[in-house]
């Protein structure tokens, strides 16, 4: 009896059943949850697959491992076979982790370190919500379609809760609020670039605000990033294009490291999926983006190797080059032609071999804007940004583009106003959450 009493009282039953498993309760535990970069630092990859950054050969199409990749490439009405849709589930997983962190952090005494970690969680939640919307939600134009329904907004870790679609305005306000809350307690810069920083917050703000048409605010955020000394433009001339991966991880331009969810179509060993020849042809002589970004394959196509991740993963994070383009576009949109041109020239000079770059001046806003967007597409190819830009620029008749695919002799097109710019919600979500499927019938 005494033995039992001793065992009972001295925590005999408090022993953990499995040593590797812990209840995350300390600050250090929460730090570890936030350093789960293989789950947190991901972005959707079906935007890239649906965009005109790439084309596929017939064989490439036939050899795709999953049905959803084939469906998405040809903009079919239905995309997801049962139990597929990593772009949806894995990004909502990020939001879940962020919510768990925020809730666990509430249980601990306040500290500076904890505030910083909560700020990181706010950033991850905002980033994931935004990136999800670019694939599954209609494009949001502030003041135009505020009450249109987007996708579920998840602000807690209550797993049994069934989240409805929410209005776009509510959804984007939540994103911007999370980013505002994140900024104050984050460091400006971290060497571990999978962790959010103030630079990352401002960079993401500029991307979000540009997307919803808040150009002035977007420019201010971009300006803040460009003015900081912690990040700087790479000089492409100093890089070696003979390497398998010419760019190193966490290079000077990288603000926040994230990669696209991996899929067969985007694998570096897939030689049947090529960069759109239109982009290849648009690189002029001396444009180092061509040798640094592309690999000419024996089958005649160019594959992409220029990711900022330093390895085979496709970079999908935030980098300084994008911020230059955002600021230039915002300047151009408010007719600051001189400033926009000089910013562009400043950026592009670093992308060319010495002596090849000729700086350009434009008189009219429209022409300048076209140039900025064209160069942006050439610089940010294979990062999924083009898809975000396509969705918003399609609203402007001057920038509309019809996308065309050819597979097995058949031609498929995607019109600028098509409802297929919003991907359907995966079946396993609809099976368990009573929300309506996205209308994709044009």
């Amino acid at each position: 009896m005494t033995i039992v009493l001793i065992w009972g009282c001295s925590g005999f039953l408090d022993e953990r059943p499995n040593k590797e498993i812990l209840i995350p309760t300390s600050e250090q535990d929460i730090r570890s949850l936030l350093d789960n970069d293989s789950e947190l630092n991901l972005v959707p990859s079906f935007g890239l697959l649906s965009s005109d950054d790439l084309i596929m050969t017939d064989d490439g199409y036939a050899s795709l491992r999953t049905e959803e990749e084939q469906n998405a490439y040809l903009w079919r009405e239905n995309i997801w076979p049962a139990n597929s849709g990593a772009d949806w589930s894995r990004i909502y997983r990020i939001i879940f982790i962020a919510n768990v962190v925020l809730e666990q952090a509430e249980k601990l005494p306040e500290s500076e370190e904890l505030s910083k970690m909560k700020a990181e969680a706010f950033f991850h939640r905002a980033h994931a919500h935004f990136m999800l919307a670019q694939v599954f939600s209609p494009h949001y134009e502030k003041g135009v379609n505020d009450q249109d329904l987007g996708i579920p907004l998840r602000m807690n870790s209550e797993i049994l809760e069934r989240s409805p679609r929410v209005a776009l305005q509510t959804y984007y306000e939540a994103i911007l609020k999370d980013l505002d809350q994140a900024f104050e307690f984050l460091p400006t810069f971290e060497n571990i670039k999978t962790r959010p920083t103030q630079l990352a917050v401002r960079a993401l703000q500029s991307r979000v605000l540009l997307t919803i048409g808040e150009y002035d605010l977007a420019e201010a955020a971009a300006d803040w990033v460009i003015s900081r000394p912690e990040v700087s433009l790479l000089n492409y001339e100093s890089l070696n294009s003979d390497l398998n991966y010419p760019f190193v991880k966490y290079n000077e331009e990288v603000i926040f490291h994230s990669v696209l969810i991996s899929h067969g179509y985007a694998s570096v060993s897939n030689v049947q999926v090529w960069i759109n020849p239109y982009i290849i042809e648009s690189y002029q002589d001396g444009d180092l983006r061509k040798p640094l970004f592309t690999d000419l394959r024996p089958n005649g196509g160019y594959t992409f190797k220029g990711q900022y991740s330093g390895n085979f993963s496709r970079f999908g994070g935030l980098a300084l080059d994008e911020i230059y383009y955002i600021k230039a576009e915002c300047l151009a949109r408010r007719n600051q032609i001189g400033d926009a041109s000089s910013l562009m020239n400043q950026l592009l000079e670093t992308r060319y071999a010495a002596g090849h770059f000729v700086s350009q001046e434009f008189g009219a806003g429209q022409e300048l804007l076209e140039w900025i967007l064209e160069e942006k597409r050439k610089s940010l190819v294979y990062r999924g940004i083009n898809w975000i830009d396509l969705r918003r620029l399609n609203k402007d008749p001057d920038f509309q583009r019809v996308l065309v695919r050819q597979i097995n002799g058949e031609t498929v097109t995607l019109n600028p106003t098509s409802k297929k710019y919003v991907l359907p919600i995966p079946e396993n979500e609809l099976a368990l959450n009573p929300i309506s499927q996205t209308d994709r019938k044009d």
């Binding site: 039953l13 209840i23 797993i159 571990i192 979500e429 099976a431």
Partner: protein, 1072 residues
């Protein structure tokens, strides 16, 4: 709870104290006159007084009487009453022999629960006893096979793995442990079941109802199998017994599974080649493997082969059937050998038993073997005027399996499970041949020219090069001290230490394909053409060990007493358990077995693969650690009251606590209880029927529990360190495993049991009829979540089940003379449905996994746990051979809509995927030492799904099912076949509609001629010389075949992938 227990114990001591004063003690023993075995449970009454006692497990009794003259009456069911005159005080140790009456209760008289031994007629719960004779009726190296088909209510699921092999009265859980608790010699057994040697087993009791749980607690929700091993008996001369047998099985047959023929597969490959399917493999940077057939089509296409030559080569391939080679070179008949030796004996004060067993199995895959050595020794002493008993038991088991030959598992192709069906394993002389495996043959050749190791794969050549040895060494020590300080009270302290070290060693010689492949994959060519080997030359050794250890400690006080017609038996105590499992794994490269040396490798930097330099990986290290701990503390009490041998009332309660993780402290424990009532009607004076000397009704009610210790109530995370592939190598990180769930509770199973036992005059007909209701509450269920929650699935207490059924046993002695003929009929039913399940499983999963009949449950409210659903089948489309389902009431081939829009109500519900009615009829004939017994078993009321061709897989180059040959090819075929035509493109929905349609559902009902057992016990004249007491030769044939089945499917409903293999055994046992 602790306080309550103290008070309760103190109360017990008080009662005891009152019953012992100022009286003289009379002691004695009751024996069965015929067998000379002690008789536990005999009633001893004092004529004319209310005093009454019961003999203990050794047949001994004692009575306290004040001085005077008395007459003692000795009675026991099935025996003639005896009386003795006595004058008190008396020093005489009374020895009473009772003579068996005509009434002989069939089978076991005493049932062991692990805590106590109960006379059969005092039982109120649902217990089944299996005696040594029945255990020895069949031949096998494991104990579970011996229970199968002879135990009422117990079903062995032949296709399930060890985690769902046995079910006793259904399965009242979805996700927690579904296996019964195994108790060996009074302690829960933590080791693998295959370590228990059936030759050591004396008796098995199966506890099926709530009484089981309140005795065994939270782990008894699935029933309890209590195994008692052999020991010596007191005052028994030295006895040596032996048993030896061989058991030969039929050979497996590769043709049984109905795979596609080589020529059909070549036809498919040709079709796929013409559709350019192989272009990506042919152009692959990974140098993907190409089958010989496709190589021929490609060479023909490129003009490297003439049409004639190609036809000749293809004809050769068509003539080669891999299944012939598998049967010839990989399979062989399994052969088991079993030897056992026991020595036992005892005198007045001590008894002992030692047993030794050796089992050897020659597996049905060539070159693979298994061995088991078991040793068990026990000894028990009586001290201090027999008031103290001290016993010790030691068991040592070593179990080893050696796999030198991967068998069919080694026949994979480029990551697929099956290789091409025209592969050849050996040439005409039996010399090993190579088959294409991971890389294209041209690349293998190229690599060789560059100086790499041979990259060819020969399944037969690889035999003995990769050797997986699994060794388990178990040690068990049990010690028990029983003290009887005063009459009626015994205190027991017992302890068990158990350890089991399981080592898995994977040795891959440098000649093994595994090693060559790994070395080659990482080989680098320097600019000067020389080779560097980041994976060093030499063997590779993987070592994994799991070290399990447990300590169990038990303290127990028993009380037995009687007051007139009232008898009380009570026990109470506590138990603590500590279980620890540590795992280690490591890999050694460049291993040299002679020197026991290895070479360190660089597992930080990445190296480009030789076959595809665009992939760079670090060398896999394969090391890991794990540490699991289980802790339980339990308190229990158990009391039985009997009035005048007529009415039995039992009550028991138990509380278990565990280190269940992250749960509020008050939910770590669960109280379980049961009550039972029995009424022996035949003992009532109004009843007294000579035709029905024994009739009893009984019932029990109570709760069992179950637990899933992998679950937690709070958010938990797995802590890891980022690998070299990660963005931040070396950075610690954590992955969330469980979401917060503070309401986690133990599962509870409520069981009501009604039973009726009877026996007619001369035991001509006897048996029992039981009806039970078994409802699961707060069952832990795994369910899918909408991914927007951040998780795919979640486990919690979300479900209830309702189960009910009958267990009927009828014994009849048809002929009783020098020829005997006995029949036993077992009939069990079990109907179990999901009564509450909060969330909905996707239809696709219910269809695909819910009908497996074992493993994970995919519940649908209102239906059996394992339900067979299917899509309604509207036949094949006569125009194109497409499968047709039903959409909006009419035939449709809109596969996507049918699959997307079908709800559970749109499906056909066939029934349970597990047998709902099962049992056996066993007849035993005896004549002058010859015994012939045969068992016919039946399983009824269930459905299974047959395999067929799946184009989604076939059209991706995987070999498929032979039904391809029966496919729709021309209009009109739909009248004679349900197998769809070959589609233009792989279409998963089209496949799924067919695969999960009515067309492939079969009724599983069948009757099987299970086994025959024939033995001859040599008669006195021959054997009972001075040397041998007993000698018996026996033979046993198992798995004779199906007598009847409901379905016309040619395959056996219980053997879907491999043929049922008959086994024939011959053995000899005896003693001297």
């Amino acid at each position: 709870m602790k306080r309550i227990l103290f008070i309760w114990l103190a109360g017990l001591l008080l009662i005891l104290h009152g019953s012992v004063f100022a009286q003289e003690l009379i002691r004695g023993v009751v024996f069965d006159k015929e067998s000379n075995e002690p008789l536990p449970g005999a009633t001893i009454r004092v004529e004319g007084k209310q005093t009454l006692t019961i003999s203990d497990e050794k047949g001994e009794f004692s009575l306290s009487l004040s001085p005077g003259q008395y007459r003692l009456m000795f009675s026991f069911i099935g025996f003639e009453e005896e009386s003795i005159a006595l004058s008190v005080p008396s020093d005489e140790f009374l020895v009473v022999n009772l003579l068996a009456s005509d009434l002989q209760l069939q089978g076991i008289d005493v049932l062991a629960t692990g805590y106590q031994e109960l006379p059969k007629e005092r039982v109120t719960g649902s217990f089944v006893g299996i005696d040594e004779e029945l255990i020895n009726r069949s031949v096998s190296s494991d104990i579970i096979s011996r229970l199968n088909h002879v135990t009422s209510g117990l079903l062995v699921n032949p296709r399930a793995g060890n985690d769902d092999r046995i079910s006793i009265r259904g399965k009242s859980t979805f996700f927690a442990n579904s296996q019964p608790l195994i108790v060996v010699d009074n302690f829960p057994y933590d080791g693998p079941l295959e370590n228990i040697n059936p030759n050591d087993v004396e008796q098995i009791t199966i506890l099926r109802d709530a009484a089981a749980a309140s005795i065994w607690g939270a782990r008894a929700g699935n029933g309890v199998i209590v195994i008692t091993t052999k020991n010596g008996t007191y005052e028994q001369p030295l006895r040596v017994s032996f048993n030896a047998n061989v058991n030969l099985y039929e050979k497996p047959d590769a043709f049984y599974a109905q795979n596609m023929s080589p020529s059909d597969f070549l036809e498919v490959e040709h079709l796929l080649y013409s559709r350019n399917f192989y272009n990506s493999a042919i152009n692959s940077q990974n140098k993907d493997a190409i089958t010989p057939g496709v190589e021929i089509f490609h060479a023909l296409h490129n003009g490297e082969l003439t049409q004639d030559e190609a036809d000749r080569q293809l004809a050769l391939l068509r003539s080669q059937d891999l299944r012939n080679d598998i049967n010839r070179y990989l399979y062989r008949p399994q052969l088991d050998q079993q030897y056992a030796l026991q020595v036992s004996g005892g005198d007045r004060r001590q008894r002992f038993g030692v047993s030794l067993g050796y089992d050897q199995t020659r597996e049905n895959v060539q070159a693979n073997d298994r061995y088991r050595i078991t040793f068990k020794g026990n000894q028990e002493f009586k001290l201090w005027k027999d008031r103290v008993t001290f016993s010790n038991q030691i068991a040592l088991i070593r179990n080893q399996s050696i796999v030198r030959n991967q068998g069919v598992a080694g026949l994979n192709f480029s990551g697929l499970t099956e290789t091409y069906p025209y592969a050849r394993l050996a040439d005409e002389e039996g010399n090993p041949l190579t088959v294409v495996r991971d890389f294209r043959m041209s690349f293998v050749q190229e690599a060789r020219e560059q100086g790499l190791l041979n990259w060819e794969y020969s399944p037969l050549g690889n035999i003995g090069q990769t050797i997986n040895t699994n060794t388990s060494s178990e040690f068990r020590w049990t010690s028990a001290l029983i003290i009887q300080p005063v009459k009626g009270i015994t205190a027991e302290l017992s302890y068990q230490y158990w350890s089991n070290n399981q080592t898995t060693e994977g040795f891959n010689s440098q000649e093994s394909y595994f090693t060559r492949n790994l070395i080659n994959t990482y080989s680098q060519i320097r600019n000067d053409g020389s080779l560097v080997y980041p994976v060093p030359l030499g063997a590779i050794l993987d070592r994994m060990s799991n070290e399990g250890e447990s300590h169990q400690f038990r303290g127990l006080v028993r009380y037995a007493g009687s007051f007139g017609k009232h008898q009380i038996n009570a026990l109470g105590g506590f138990e603590a358990k500590y279980y620890q499992l540590n795992g280690y794994s490591a890999r050694y490269y460049g291993y040299n077995p002679q020197l026991a040396s290895s070479i360190p490798v660089d597992n930080i930097n990445t190296y480009p693969y030789f076959y595809n330099p665009s992939i760079s990986q670090v060398i896999p290290v394969g090391s890991g650690l794990s540490d699991l701990t289980d802790r339980f503390i339990s308190y229990y009490g158990n009391a039985g009251y009997t009035y005048d041998n007529k009415v039995d009332l039992t009550i028991s309660a138990r509380k278990d606590q565990s280190n269940l993780f992250g749960v509020r402290a008050n939910q770590r424990s669960v109280p379980l209880y049961s009550i039972g009532l029995g009424w022996t009607i035949s003992e009532m004076s109004f009843f007294r029927r000579t035709q029905l000397p024994y009739l009893k009704i009984r019932s029990s009610y109570g709760y069992n529990g179950n637990i899933d210790k992998t679950l937690t109530g709070e958010t938990t995370a797995l802590f890891l360190t980022s690998s070299a592939f990660g963005f931040n190598p070396g950075l610690p990180y954590a992955r969330i495993l469980n979401p917060p769930y503070p309401d986690l509770r133990w599962e509870r199973i409520r069981i009501v049991n009604f039973g009726l036992d009877f026996e007619t005059k001369n035991s001509r007909i006897s048996g029992s009829v039981e009806y039970y209701v078994k409802n699961g509450q707060d069952l832990i269920a795994d369910t899918q979540l909408p991914p927007s929650s951040g998780l795919d699935s979640f486990r919690g207490n979300s479900a209830n089940t309702k189960g009910k059924g009958w267990d009927i046993v009828l014994n009849s002695r048809n002929i009783v003379s020098s020829l005997t003929w006995d029949t036993q009929l077992l009939f069990s039913t079990n109907n179990e449905t999901v009564s509450q399940y909060l969330l909905e499983e996707p239809i696709s999963t219910v269809l695909s996994n819910g009908a497996a009949g074992f493993g994970r449950v995919y519940p649908v409210e209102g239906y059996p746990l394992y339900s067979m659903f299917s899509y309604p089948w509207a036949g094949l489309n006569p125009d194109n051979g497409n499968p047709q389902g039903i959409l909006d009431g009419s035939p449709s081939e809109d596969f996507t809509s049918i699959i997307r829009e079908s709800g559970i109500d749109d499906l056909v519900f066939h029934g349970s995927a597990r047998p709902t009615v099962f049992g056996s009829i066993r007849n035993t004939l005896g004549w002058k030492g010859v015994s012939l017994s045969f068992n016919i078993t039946y399983k009824l009321g269930y459905y299974y799904r047959r395999n067929s061709v799946l184009y989604n897989s076939l059209l991706r180059g995987n070999p498929g099912h032979a039904d391809y040959a029966l496919r729709w090819q021309n209009p009109g075929d739909e009248l004679s076949t349900n197998v769809p035509s070959v589609p233009g493109n792989p279409n998963l929905n089209r496949d799924n509609l067919y695969r999960y349609s009515e067309a492939l559902v079969e009724k599983g009902d069948h009757i099987r001629f299970q086994d025959i057992s024939l033995s001859y016990r040599f008669q006195n004249s021959f054997v009972k010389t001075k040397v041998l007491d007993n000698l018996e030769i026996y033979s046993y044939i198992n798995n004779l075949g199906i007598l009847w089945k409901a379905s016309s499917d040619p395959l056996d409903p219980e053997f879907r992938n491999l043929n049922p293999m008959r086994s024939f055994s011959l053995g000899l046992r005896g003693s001297f």
